[in-house]
């Protein structure tokens, strides 16, 4: 499974688009927006198929933080949380990001396998400038709220996500 949480600004040319999970593609869930019916990947916010495909429209990435609930609550005591009684609560389950391996079903739908890292190896994804980089999460050091990742090319540091108010 993908174990990938990503945040986006859902405004496209000033209009809010709303999304729902609509299928699977290349080992990932894909989503459809109610406004156009286009099919999107949630990895980078680009259109796979539909009326917006082939253009330059993509969703703008937004900071999102992954952390234990106890730490998040301590840091942000006024946080809000979705209700748990949604009618689907019996489907919710404890998950370990990166755990669980890759089932034969998911492996069979992969278009391209990349063996540079093991299945389920967690990375910190960063997009700076024209490209994307992935840093092994296990190798990331922390200095308070600042994460420091080294690679052969560079050392980068970044501070936990906070979105500017418009």
């Amino acid at each position: 499974m993908c174990s990938s949480g990503v945040g986006f600004d859902p405004l496209i040319e000033g209009t809010r688009h709303t999304f729902y999970a609509s299928g699977l593609y290349n080992g990932l869930f894909v989503m459809t927006d109610d406004q156009t019916g286009a099919l999107w990947t949630h990895f980078d916010g680009t259109v796979l198929q539909g009326p917006l495909a082939g253009g330059e429209i993509e969703l703008e990435l937004q900071p999102i933080v992954h952390m234990p609930w106890g730490d998040w609550r301590e840091a942000h005591p006024d946080t809000l949380v979705p209700i748990s009684e949604t009618g689907y609560e019996n489907r919710y389950r404890d998950v370990s990001p990166g755990g669980g391996g890759l089932s034969d079903f998911f492996e069979s739908m992969l278009i391209h396998e990349d063996d540079r890292l093991g299945v389920g190896e967690l990375v910190l994804g960063v997009n700076v400038g024209p490209g994307y980089r992935a840093y092994l999460l296990a190798s990331v050091a922390y200095d308070g709220p600042v994460a420091i990742a080294d690679s052969r090319a560079a050392r980068v540091s970044f501070r936990g996500g906070r979105r500017r108010s418009r």
Binding site: M67, H76, V81, S165
Partner: protein, 53 residues
């Protein structure tokens, strides 16, 4: 949405995805829920936000 004080179903180590504004307003989405729903269309301080997992 409910406040943190109303949350009784999450343990300390349960992973959440958090979004935060400069104003300090915050929302947290447990991945135990997101693994099922995959998508949350939410609004924070009047601003739309899309959370995916």
């Amino acid at each position: 949405m409910v406040t943190a004080d109303e949350v009784t179903w999450l343990e300390h180590d349960d992973i959440v995805m958090g979004i935060l504004l400069d104003s300090g307003e915050a929302q947290a989405f447990p991945i135990s829920q997101m693994t099922y729903h995959h998508v949350a269309n939410t609004t924070l301080a009047g601003e739309p936000y899309l959370v995916t997992y």
